[in-house]
Protein backbone atom coordinates (compact mmCIF):
# COMPACT_ATOMS: atom_id res chain seq x y z
CA UNK A 1 0.00 0.00 0.00
CA UNK A 2 2.72 2.41 1.09
CA UNK A 3 4.83 1.32 -1.82
CA UNK A 4 2.01 1.95 -4.25
CA UNK A 5 1.33 5.37 -2.69
CA UNK A 6 4.99 6.32 -3.07
CA UNK A 7 4.94 5.01 -6.60
CA UNK A 8 1.79 7.10 -7.28
CA UNK A 9 3.46 10.22 -5.85
CA UNK A 10 6.44 9.56 -8.05
CA UNK A 11 4.16 9.45 -11.05
CA UNK A 12 2.57 12.74 -9.94
CA UNK A 13 6.04 14.28 -9.72
CA UNK A 14 6.61 13.19 -13.29
CA UNK A 15 3.30 14.67 -14.38
CA UNK A 16 3.67 17.90 -12.38
CA UNK A 17 5.74 19.83 -14.94
CA UNK A 18 3.25 18.83 -17.62
CA UNK A 19 0.33 20.00 -15.46
CA UNK A 20 2.09 23.31 -14.81
CA UNK A 21 2.60 23.80 -18.53
CA UNK A 22 -1.06 23.03 -19.15
CA UNK A 23 -2.15 25.58 -16.51
CA UNK A 24 0.20 28.15 -18.00
CA UNK A 25 -1.26 27.61 -21.46
CA UNK A 26 -4.78 27.75 -20.13
CA UNK A 27 -4.33 30.87 -17.99
CA UNK A 28 -4.92 33.49 -20.74
CA UNK A 29 -8.49 32.26 -21.05
CA UNK A 30 -9.10 33.48 -17.50
CA UNK A 31 -7.38 36.85 -17.85
CA UNK A 32 -9.30 40.01 -17.11
CA UNK A 33 -11.02 42.10 -19.72
CA UNK A 34 -9.50 45.47 -20.43
CA UNK A 35 -8.77 48.08 -23.05
CA UNK A 36 -5.50 49.95 -23.06
CA UNK A 37 -5.34 53.37 -24.71
CA UNK A 38 -2.19 55.35 -25.55
CA UNK A 39 -2.68 59.01 -26.49
CA UNK A 40 0.47 60.59 -27.86
CA UNK A 41 1.13 64.16 -29.01
CA UNK A 42 2.97 64.09 -32.36
CA UNK A 43 3.44 67.78 -33.08
CA UNK A 44 0.18 68.72 -34.76
CA UNK A 45 -2.24 66.16 -33.36
CA UNK A 46 -2.79 63.39 -30.87
CA UNK A 47 -2.49 59.85 -32.12
CA UNK A 48 -4.76 57.54 -30.18
CA UNK A 49 -4.21 53.79 -30.12
CA UNK A 50 -6.66 51.47 -28.38
CA UNK A 51 -5.66 47.87 -27.72
CA UNK A 52 -7.86 45.00 -26.58
CA UNK A 53 -7.59 41.22 -26.48
CA UNK A 54 -8.76 39.54 -29.65
CA UNK A 55 -11.30 37.52 -27.67
CA UNK A 56 -12.91 40.78 -26.51
CA UNK A 57 -12.84 42.16 -30.06
CA UNK A 58 -14.68 39.05 -31.24
CA UNK A 59 -17.32 39.65 -28.56
CA UNK A 60 -17.60 43.29 -29.64
CA UNK A 61 -18.01 42.30 -33.29
CA UNK A 62 -20.87 39.95 -32.36
CA UNK A 63 -22.39 42.63 -30.13
CA UNK A 64 -22.36 44.95 -33.17
CA UNK A 65 -24.20 42.35 -35.25
CA UNK A 66 -21.14 41.10 -37.13
CA UNK A 67 -21.05 37.45 -38.15
CA UNK A 68 -17.92 37.51 -40.32
CA UNK A 69 -14.53 36.28 -39.11
CA UNK A 70 -12.79 38.89 -36.99
CA UNK A 71 -10.06 39.30 -39.65
CA UNK A 72 -12.63 40.41 -42.26
CA UNK A 73 -12.42 44.13 -43.16
CA UNK A 74 -16.04 44.73 -42.12
CA UNK A 75 -15.44 43.11 -38.71
CA UNK A 76 -12.44 45.37 -38.11
CA UNK A 77 -14.58 48.34 -39.14
CA UNK A 78 -17.40 47.36 -36.78
CA UNK A 79 -15.04 47.12 -33.81
CA UNK A 80 -13.52 50.50 -34.77
CA UNK A 81 -16.96 52.11 -34.92
CA UNK A 82 -17.87 50.53 -31.59
CA UNK A 83 -14.82 52.18 -30.03
CA UNK A 84 -15.58 55.47 -31.80
CA UNK A 85 -19.06 55.58 -30.24
CA UNK A 86 -17.76 54.85 -26.75
CA UNK A 87 -14.56 56.85 -26.51
CA UNK A 88 -15.10 60.59 -26.61
CA UNK A 89 -13.55 63.81 -25.45
CA UNK A 90 -15.75 65.85 -23.17
CA UNK A 91 -16.22 69.56 -23.68
CA UNK A 92 -14.01 72.37 -24.83
CA UNK A 93 -10.58 72.97 -23.45
CA UNK A 94 -8.06 75.74 -23.20
CA UNK A 95 -5.12 75.58 -25.58
CA UNK A 96 -1.56 76.09 -24.41
CA UNK A 97 -1.56 79.40 -26.33
CA UNK A 98 -4.52 80.68 -24.27
CA UNK A 99 -7.25 80.36 -26.91
CA UNK A 100 -10.12 77.96 -26.57
CA UNK A 101 -10.22 74.65 -28.42
CA UNK A 102 -13.72 73.87 -29.55
CA UNK A 103 -12.94 71.01 -31.92
CA UNK A 104 -13.11 67.77 -30.02
CA UNK A 105 -13.94 65.36 -32.85
CA UNK A 106 -11.83 62.24 -33.03
CA UNK A 107 -11.22 60.75 -36.46
CA UNK A 108 -11.23 56.98 -36.63
CA UNK A 109 -8.47 55.98 -39.00
CA UNK A 110 -8.38 52.21 -38.97
CA UNK A 111 -8.03 48.93 -37.11
CA UNK A 112 -5.81 45.90 -37.37
CA UNK A 113 -5.00 42.63 -35.67
CA UNK A 114 -1.55 41.89 -34.43
CA UNK A 115 -0.81 38.68 -32.58
CA UNK A 116 -3.53 38.26 -29.99
CA UNK A 117 -4.67 41.88 -29.94
CA UNK A 118 -6.91 44.18 -31.92
CA UNK A 119 -5.68 47.75 -32.37
CA UNK A 120 -8.01 50.66 -33.20
CA UNK A 121 -6.45 53.91 -34.38
CA UNK A 122 -7.90 57.38 -33.96
CA UNK A 123 -6.51 60.89 -34.14
CA UNK A 124 -7.42 64.28 -32.76
CA UNK A 125 -6.18 67.12 -34.95
CA UNK A 126 -5.85 70.08 -32.61
CA UNK A 127 -3.56 72.64 -31.11
CA UNK A 128 -1.72 71.56 -28.00
CA UNK A 129 -4.13 71.85 -25.04
CA UNK A 130 -3.14 73.23 -21.66
CA UNK A 131 -4.63 70.14 -20.08
CA UNK A 132 -5.98 67.02 -21.72
CA UNK A 133 -9.80 67.06 -21.63
CA UNK A 134 -12.00 64.70 -19.66
CA UNK A 135 -12.76 61.40 -21.36
CA UNK A 136 -15.95 59.46 -21.73
CA UNK A 137 -14.76 55.89 -22.00
CA UNK A 138 -17.26 53.04 -21.88
CA UNK A 139 -15.40 50.72 -24.26
CA UNK A 140 -16.10 47.02 -23.51
CA UNK A 141 -18.64 47.72 -20.77
CA UNK A 142 -21.50 46.49 -22.99
CA UNK A 143 -19.88 43.12 -23.49
CA UNK A 144 -17.93 42.82 -20.24
CA UNK A 145 -19.43 44.97 -17.45
CA UNK A 146 -16.33 44.53 -15.27
CA UNK A 147 -13.85 45.43 -17.99
CA UNK A 148 -11.11 47.84 -16.98
CA UNK A 149 -9.71 50.67 -19.03
CA UNK A 150 -6.24 52.16 -18.81
CA UNK A 151 -5.40 55.41 -20.54
CA UNK A 152 -1.88 56.82 -20.87
CA UNK A 153 -1.45 60.37 -22.13
CA UNK A 154 1.94 61.51 -23.40
CA UNK A 155 2.65 65.10 -24.43
CA UNK A 156 4.47 68.26 -23.32
CA UNK A 157 3.33 68.97 -19.72
CA UNK A 158 0.51 66.48 -20.26
CA UNK A 159 1.89 63.13 -19.13
CA UNK A 160 -0.60 61.30 -16.98
CA UNK A 161 -2.36 57.99 -16.54
CA UNK A 162 -6.07 57.46 -16.04
CA UNK A 163 -7.87 54.32 -15.08
CA UNK A 164 -11.41 53.00 -15.10
CA UNK A 165 -12.02 50.19 -12.64
Amino acid sequence: MVASAVHGFGRLRTLLPLLLVLFAVDSPAHRGHAVWTDITWVGDRFEIVHRMHLADAIAVNRFMGGRDAIEAPRSLARVALYVEERFKLQGANEAADGDEIDESRLDTIGAEIEDDFMFVYQEWVTRLPLRFPALENTVLLDVEPDAQAFVRILGPELDEERERR
Binding site: P73, R74, L76, A77, R78, A80, L81, T108, I109, G110, A111, E112, V125
Partner: protein
Protein backbone atom coordinates in the same frame (compact mmCIF):
# COMPACT_ATOMS: atom_id res chain seq x y z
CA UNK B 1 -27.41 71.56 -92.93
CA UNK B 2 -30.48 69.41 -93.54
CA UNK B 3 -32.48 68.19 -90.57
CA UNK B 4 -31.70 64.57 -91.49
CA UNK B 5 -27.94 65.35 -91.42
CA UNK B 6 -28.21 66.78 -87.92
CA UNK B 7 -30.11 63.75 -86.75
CA UNK B 8 -27.61 61.35 -88.28
CA UNK B 9 -24.67 63.18 -86.70
CA UNK B 10 -26.29 62.71 -83.30
CA UNK B 11 -26.78 59.01 -83.90
CA UNK B 12 -24.09 56.76 -82.44
CA UNK B 13 -22.31 54.34 -84.73
CA UNK B 14 -23.01 50.69 -83.85
CA UNK B 15 -19.25 50.12 -84.00
CA UNK B 16 -18.83 52.55 -81.11
CA UNK B 17 -20.88 50.21 -78.94
CA UNK B 18 -18.15 47.54 -79.00
CA UNK B 19 -15.42 49.47 -77.17
CA UNK B 20 -18.05 51.01 -74.88
CA UNK B 21 -19.36 47.55 -74.00
CA UNK B 22 -15.80 46.37 -73.41
CA UNK B 23 -15.17 49.33 -71.10
CA UNK B 24 -18.34 48.63 -69.16
CA UNK B 25 -17.59 44.93 -68.80
CA UNK B 26 -14.00 45.51 -67.72
CA UNK B 27 -15.32 48.05 -65.21
CA UNK B 28 -17.72 45.45 -63.80
CA UNK B 29 -14.95 42.86 -63.58
CA UNK B 30 -12.64 45.17 -61.66
CA UNK B 31 -15.54 46.29 -59.45
CA UNK B 32 -16.06 42.71 -58.32
CA UNK B 33 -12.39 42.13 -57.56
CA UNK B 34 -11.33 41.71 -53.95
CA UNK B 35 -10.41 45.32 -53.12
CA UNK B 36 -8.10 44.44 -50.24
CA UNK B 37 -5.83 42.26 -52.42
CA UNK B 38 -4.33 44.92 -54.65
CA UNK B 39 -5.07 48.15 -52.83
CA UNK B 40 -2.50 50.75 -54.00
CA UNK B 41 -0.01 51.69 -51.33
CA UNK B 42 -0.11 55.37 -52.21
CA UNK B 43 -3.80 55.54 -51.28
CA UNK B 44 -5.01 55.87 -47.67
CA UNK B 45 -5.45 52.44 -46.02
CA UNK B 46 -8.53 50.64 -47.33
CA UNK B 47 -9.60 50.07 -43.74
CA UNK B 48 -10.40 53.77 -43.36
CA UNK B 49 -12.99 53.55 -46.12
CA UNK B 50 -14.47 50.28 -44.88
CA UNK B 51 -15.14 52.12 -41.60
CA UNK B 52 -16.79 54.97 -43.54
CA UNK B 53 -18.92 52.44 -45.40
CA UNK B 54 -19.99 50.75 -42.17
CA UNK B 55 -20.92 54.11 -40.69
CA UNK B 56 -23.76 54.69 -43.18
CA UNK B 57 -26.45 52.03 -42.77
CA UNK B 58 -28.74 53.64 -45.37
CA UNK B 59 -26.08 53.52 -48.06
CA UNK B 60 -25.45 49.85 -47.29
CA UNK B 61 -29.00 49.11 -48.44
CA UNK B 62 -28.18 50.43 -51.91
CA UNK B 63 -24.50 49.66 -52.35
CA UNK B 64 -22.25 46.69 -51.64
CA UNK B 65 -18.89 47.25 -50.00
CA UNK B 66 -16.90 46.22 -53.09
CA UNK B 67 -18.81 48.78 -55.21
CA UNK B 68 -18.07 51.51 -52.69
CA UNK B 69 -14.38 50.59 -52.64
CA UNK B 70 -14.29 50.55 -56.44
CA UNK B 71 -15.44 54.17 -56.51
CA UNK B 72 -12.96 55.14 -53.82
CA UNK B 73 -10.17 53.96 -56.12
CA UNK B 74 -11.73 55.76 -59.06
CA UNK B 75 -11.79 58.96 -57.02
CA UNK B 76 -8.01 58.80 -56.71
CA UNK B 77 -7.23 57.34 -60.12
CA UNK B 78 -9.80 59.21 -62.23
CA UNK B 79 -12.67 57.97 -64.36
CA UNK B 80 -13.48 58.11 -68.06
CA UNK B 81 -15.56 61.24 -67.42
CA UNK B 82 -13.13 62.83 -64.95
CA UNK B 83 -9.67 61.56 -65.94
CA UNK B 84 -7.88 63.74 -63.38
CA UNK B 85 -8.20 61.89 -60.12
CA UNK B 86 -7.28 63.20 -56.69
CA UNK B 87 -3.80 61.67 -57.01
CA UNK B 88 -3.20 63.83 -60.12
CA UNK B 89 -4.51 66.94 -58.36
CA UNK B 90 -2.25 66.20 -55.39
CA UNK B 91 0.79 65.79 -57.65
CA UNK B 92 -0.01 69.02 -59.50
CA UNK B 93 -0.31 71.02 -56.27
CA UNK B 94 2.79 69.51 -54.68
CA UNK B 95 4.85 70.11 -57.82
CA UNK B 96 3.81 73.75 -57.67
CA UNK B 97 4.67 74.05 -53.98
CA UNK B 98 8.12 75.59 -54.15
CA UNK B 99 8.94 75.79 -50.45
CA UNK B 100 10.25 72.31 -49.52
CA UNK B 101 9.39 72.97 -45.87
CA UNK B 102 5.75 73.50 -46.80
CA UNK B 103 5.45 70.23 -48.73
CA UNK B 104 4.90 67.83 -45.79
CA UNK B 105 2.08 69.97 -44.40
CA UNK B 106 0.51 70.39 -47.83
CA UNK B 107 0.77 66.64 -48.44
CA UNK B 108 -1.04 66.00 -45.16
CA UNK B 109 -3.75 68.56 -45.91
CA UNK B 110 -4.42 67.12 -49.34
CA UNK B 111 -4.49 63.60 -47.94
CA UNK B 112 -7.07 64.49 -45.30
CA UNK B 113 -9.24 66.53 -47.68
CA UNK B 114 -9.12 63.81 -50.35
CA UNK B 115 -9.97 61.15 -47.81
CA UNK B 116 -12.98 63.11 -46.57
CA UNK B 117 -14.30 63.81 -50.09
CA UNK B 118 -13.73 60.21 -51.23
CA UNK B 119 -15.53 58.74 -48.23
CA UNK B 120 -18.73 60.62 -49.16
CA UNK B 121 -18.57 60.79 -52.96
CA UNK B 122 -18.04 57.02 -53.30
CA UNK B 123 -21.45 56.25 -51.81
CA UNK B 124 -24.41 55.38 -54.01
CA UNK B 125 -25.27 58.32 -56.27
CA UNK B 126 -28.70 58.76 -54.68
CA UNK B 127 -27.27 58.87 -51.16
CA UNK B 128 -24.01 60.77 -51.51
CA UNK B 129 -24.12 64.45 -50.66
CA UNK B 130 -21.08 65.11 -52.86
CA UNK B 131 -22.04 64.99 -56.56
CA UNK B 132 -19.91 64.49 -59.66
CA UNK B 133 -20.07 68.15 -60.60
CA UNK B 134 -18.70 69.07 -57.16
CA UNK B 135 -15.60 67.02 -57.91
CA UNK B 136 -15.21 68.78 -61.26
CA UNK B 137 -15.65 72.18 -59.57
CA UNK B 138 -13.10 71.43 -56.87
CA UNK B 139 -10.66 70.06 -59.46
CA UNK B 140 -10.95 73.26 -61.52
CA UNK B 141 -10.69 75.43 -58.41
CA UNK B 142 -7.54 73.60 -57.26
CA UNK B 143 -5.91 73.93 -60.70
CA UNK B 144 -6.69 77.63 -60.90
CA UNK B 145 -5.38 78.11 -57.38
CA UNK B 146 -2.04 76.68 -58.48
CA UNK B 147 -1.87 79.25 -61.28
CA UNK B 148 -2.95 82.09 -59.03
CA UNK B 149 -0.76 81.07 -56.11
CA UNK B 150 -3.54 80.86 -53.53
CA UNK B 151 -3.71 77.11 -52.96
CA UNK B 152 -3.99 77.26 -49.17
CA UNK B 153 -6.93 79.66 -49.19
CA UNK B 154 -8.71 77.62 -51.85
CA UNK B 155 -8.20 74.36 -49.94
CA UNK B 156 -9.54 76.08 -46.82
CA UNK B 157 -12.68 77.08 -48.70
CA UNK B 158 -13.16 73.66 -50.27
CA UNK B 159 -12.73 72.03 -46.87
CA UNK B 160 -15.21 74.48 -45.34
CA UNK B 161 -17.75 73.84 -48.12
CA UNK B 162 -17.37 70.09 -47.76
CA UNK B 163 -18.15 70.41 -44.05
CA UNK B 164 -21.25 72.49 -44.82
CA UNK B 165 -22.31 70.03 -47.50
CA UNK B 166 -22.04 67.11 -45.09
CA UNK B 167 -23.94 68.96 -42.38
CA UNK B 168 -26.57 69.98 -44.99
CA UNK B 169 -25.95 73.69 -44.52
CA UNK B 170 -25.16 73.88 -48.23
CA UNK B 171 -26.56 72.05 -51.27
CA UNK B 172 -24.40 70.47 -53.97
CA UNK B 173 -25.83 72.85 -56.59
CA UNK B 174 -24.68 75.88 -54.62
CA UNK B 175 -21.05 74.91 -55.09
CA UNK B 176 -19.77 76.61 -58.23
CA UNK B 177 -16.30 77.68 -59.32
CA UNK B 178 -17.01 81.37 -58.64
CA UNK B 179 -17.19 80.53 -54.91
CA UNK B 180 -13.43 80.07 -55.09
CA UNK B 181 -12.30 82.43 -57.83
CA UNK B 182 -13.66 85.54 -59.49
CA UNK B 183 -14.79 84.79 -63.07
CA UNK B 184 -12.17 85.55 -65.72
CA UNK B 185 -13.64 88.41 -67.88
CA UNK B 186 -11.49 87.37 -70.86
CA UNK B 187 -12.62 83.77 -70.80
CA UNK B 188 -15.63 83.38 -73.09
CA UNK B 189 -16.45 80.02 -71.49
CA UNK B 190 -16.19 81.31 -67.93
CA UNK B 191 -19.07 80.28 -65.75
Amino acid sequence: MARSDVQSSRRYSPLLAIPMLFMLLSGCASMNRDFSRDWPQELPPSNYFVISYERDALNQEYQALHEYMYWVRKFYEGTALYPRGWSDITTEILDATEDPKAKPEMTERLAILGRDIAAEWSKDGGISLVKNHNLATWGIAASRAVGEGNVEETLDRISDDLGKLLSRELTADAITVDRYHAPDPEDPFAF
